[in-house]
C-alpha cells in the first residue's frame, strides 16, 4: 500500500515541479491537463478501494468459472465485473466528489479557459473586495449537486469505503 502513502504527501510539496511540467508540455489552463491530473491524484484511492473490494471476491468462484470453460475474458465479463459493480460504483462516486471539490490544483494550474467551479468561486475574492452575494450563489451551486448525489448514494459510498473492514 505504498501507493496510498503518496496521498498523504502535501500537494504543495510537488506544486513547483508539476507546474513546470504543465508549462513545458503546454497543459497549463487546459481541460486535458486538469483531467489527467485529477485522474492521477486520486489514483491511489481508486486502487486502494478496488483492491479491498476485489480481494473479497472468493477465488473459488473464478476457479469454478474456469472449470466451466470460461476463458479470461469470460471470467472478467460474466463473473468478476458483475460482482464488482457495487465496488466500482462506490469508487466512482467518491472520486467524483473528490474531483468536484478539488481546489488546490485547479487554482494553481488553470485560469479562464479551464477553470472549474472551485476556481470560479475563488475568483469572487478579489483585491476589490468580496462579492458576498455572488460568492454565496456560486457556493450554493457548487455544493448542491454533490449534496444531492451524496444523499442518494450514501449507502453505496459507506459500503464501498468499509467493504472488507469487518469479516
Amino acid at each position: 500500500m505504498w501507493m496510498l502513502s503518496t496521498k498523504m504527501m502535501p500537494p504543495v510539496g510537488v506544486l513547483v515541479p508539476i507546474y513546470l511540467l504543465f508549462r513545458d508540455w503546454g497543459l497549463l489552463n487546459t481541460l486535458t491537463g486538469l483531467t489527467g491530473l485529477m485522474m492521477l491524484v486520486n489514483l491511489p484511492i481508486v486502487v486502494w478501494m478496488l483492491y479491498t473490494y476485489f480481494k473479497e471476491i472468493p477465488p473459488d468462484i473464478l476457479e469454478a468459472a474456469r472449470m466451466d470453460g470460461a476463458r479470461l475474458f469470460n471470467e472478467i465479463a460474466h463473473v468478476l465485473a458483475p460482482l464488482a459493480v457495487p465496488g466500482i460504483a462506490s469508487t466512482m462516486l467518491l472520486n467524483i466528489i473528490l474531483a468536484w471539490n478539488e481546489a488546490f490544483w485547479t487554482l494553481n494550474l488553470s485560469a479562464a479557459s479551464a477553470a472549474p467551479l472551485s476556481a470560479f468561486i475563488a475568483s469572487y475574492s478579489s483585491p476589490e473586495g468580496l462579492f458576498w452575494a455572488k460568492l454565496s450563489a456560486a457556493s450554493t451551486m457548487a455544493i448542491a449537486p454533490i449534496l444531492i448525489l451524496g444523499w442518494f448514494s450514501q449507502r453505496q459510498l459507506v459500503r464501498g469505503l468499509t467493504f472488507g473492514a469487518v469479516k
Binding site: 472468493p58 473459488d60 468462484i61 476457479e63 469454478a64 468459472a65 474456469r66 472449470m67 466451466d68 470453460g69 470460461a70 469470460n74 460474466h78 463473473v79 458483475p82 460482482l83
Partner: protein
C-alpha cells in the same frame, strides 16, 4: 469414459514439497475417496487432477490421453467445491446453464438440459431464485446440477458436505451415492470424514503428508490396515492402540483392537477397570475404561448396556481381531 491415472505426480510450492510422489489409477465409473487429516494433500491432489494447479513433475492421464498441460475446461471434468462456488449474481437457472453457455450450446438445448438437471435434483421451483435465497442443501444441489449438465468424464468433489449440518450431510451423502449409481460416472471425492469415505467409496485412498498410505476397498482398510496410521484413522470410534507389556505378550511393539471387537461384561474378563465415560447412543453403548497396565480402552456394545460412570467393567478383546504392529508402525503378518 473416465479412467484417470496419476503417474509419478509431485507438487511443490516455493520449494516446499507437499506431494512427494503419487502413482494412482482410478477406473472408469469408480467412486474413489481421498481421505486423510487436514493438510495431507488430498485437496491439492484433486486440484492437480482438475488442472487448477500445475504438477511440478509427472503426468495426469485421462482416458489414455496426457492431460497434464490441458486447461481445466479441456479435461472434461466437473468440480463441486466445498463452498459451492455458485455465481451469486446469477439465478439458479443461469448458474446451471453457465457451463453450457461457455461451450456455445444452442439456447433450446441449454434449456432442455438445465430443466432436466433441475428435475433430477428437485430444483425446478427454484430456477428463478438466486443462491442467496437458498438453503445450504439446495445450494449444494445447484452446484451438483452445474456439474451434471456438463456430462463430464468424471466428477470431482472437494469436501462438498463439510458446510452442512449433520442430518443434511447424511441425506446428501445418500443423494450423491444414488447419483453415482444412476450416472455410473467416475467420481473422485475428497473428505476428512472417514464415515463418508467408508459409506460412499468403492475404493479409499488414505493420504498422510502427501503420501499414499494405503489404497483399498473400505472393508479391506477396515480389516487389514497396512500400518498404525491407517488403523487409527479408519473406524469410529478409533481403534484401541496398546503398547507395553500387553503388546509384548503378543510379540509386537503395538497391538490394536477395535472397540467393537472388545466384549464388555459386568462379571468377568481379561481386563478390569472403572468406567470413566459411558456414551449411551441407544443403538450402541460406548464405554471408556482405563485399564491398569494397558491404557484407556474403548468398548462398543450393541444396544443399551447397564454400566455407568464409576462402575466396574470387565473387558475381553477378541483374540482373532487383534492387529499387531512392529516398531516402524507397520502391520505384522
Amino acid at each position: 469414459m473416465g479412467a484417470i491415472r496419476l503417474e509419478q505426480v509431485t507438487k511443490s510450492f516455493d520449494g516446499t514439497v507437499v506431494i512427494p510422489c503419487v502413482d494412482l489409477e482410478m477406473a472408469d465409473g469408480e467412486f474413489v475417496v481421498f481421505v486423510g487429516p487436514s493438510g495431507c494433500g488430498k485437496s491439492t491432489l484433486l486440484r492437480l487432477i482438475a488442472g487448477l494447479e500445475d504438477v511440478t513433475s509427472g503426468r495426469v492421464v485421462i482416458d489414455g490421453a496426457d492431460a497434464t498441460r490441458l486447461r481445466p475446461a479441456q479435461r472434461g471434468l466437473a468440480m463441486v467445491f466445498q463452498s459451492y462456488a455458485l455465481y451469486p449474481h446469477m439465478t439458479v437457472y443461469k448458474n446451471i446453464a453457465f457451463p453450457l453457455r461457455m461451450a456455445g450450446g444452442e439456447p433450446a438445448v441449454i434449456d432442455r438440459k438445465v430443466r432436466a438437471a433441475a428435475q433430477t435434483l428437485n430444483l425446478t421451483e427454484y430456477l428463478n431464485h438466486k443462491p442467496g435465497q437458498l438453503s445450504g442443501g439446495q445450494r449444494q444441489r445447484v452446484a451438483i446440477g452445474r456439474a451434471i449438465v456438463r456430462e463430464p468424464k468424471a466428477f470431482l468433489f472437494d469436501e462438498p458436505l463439510s458446510n452442512l449440518d449433520a442430518a443434511l450431510r447424511v441425506n446428501m451423502r445418500l443423494e450423491i451415492t444414488e447419483l453415482h449409481q444412476s450416472l455410473k460416472t467416475t467420481m473422485i471425492y475428497v473428505t476428512h470424514d472417514q464415515i463418508e469415505a467408508m459409506t460412499m467409496a468403492d475404493r479409499i485412498v488414505v493420504l498422510r503428508a502427501g503420501n499414499v498410505e494405503q489404497v483399498g476397498s473400505p472393508l479391506d482398510l477396515y480389516r487389514a490396515p497396512r500400518n498404525l496410521f491407517v488403523a487409527g484413522f479408519i473406524g469410529s470410534p478409533q481403534m484401541n492402540l496398546i503398547q507395553g507389556v500387553e503388546a509384548e505378550n503378543h510379540g509386537a511393539k503395538t497391538i490394536g483392537v477395535r472397540p467393537e471387537h472388545v466384549r464388555a461384561s459386568q462379571d468377568a474378563g481379561d481386563w478390569v477397570g472403572t468406567v470413566s465415560i459411558a456414551e449411551h447412543l441407544g443403538s450402541d453403548t460406548i464405554l471408556h475404561v482405563p485399564v491398569e497396565g494397558v491404557g484407556m480402552i474403548k468398548a462398543r456394545v450393541e444396544g443399551e448396556f447397564a454400566l455407568r460412570h464409576g462402575q466396574k467393567a470387565y473387558l475381553t478383546p477378541d483374540p482373532t481381531k487383534i492387529h499387531r504392529f512392529d516398531a516402524d508402525g507397520k502391520t505384522m503378518s
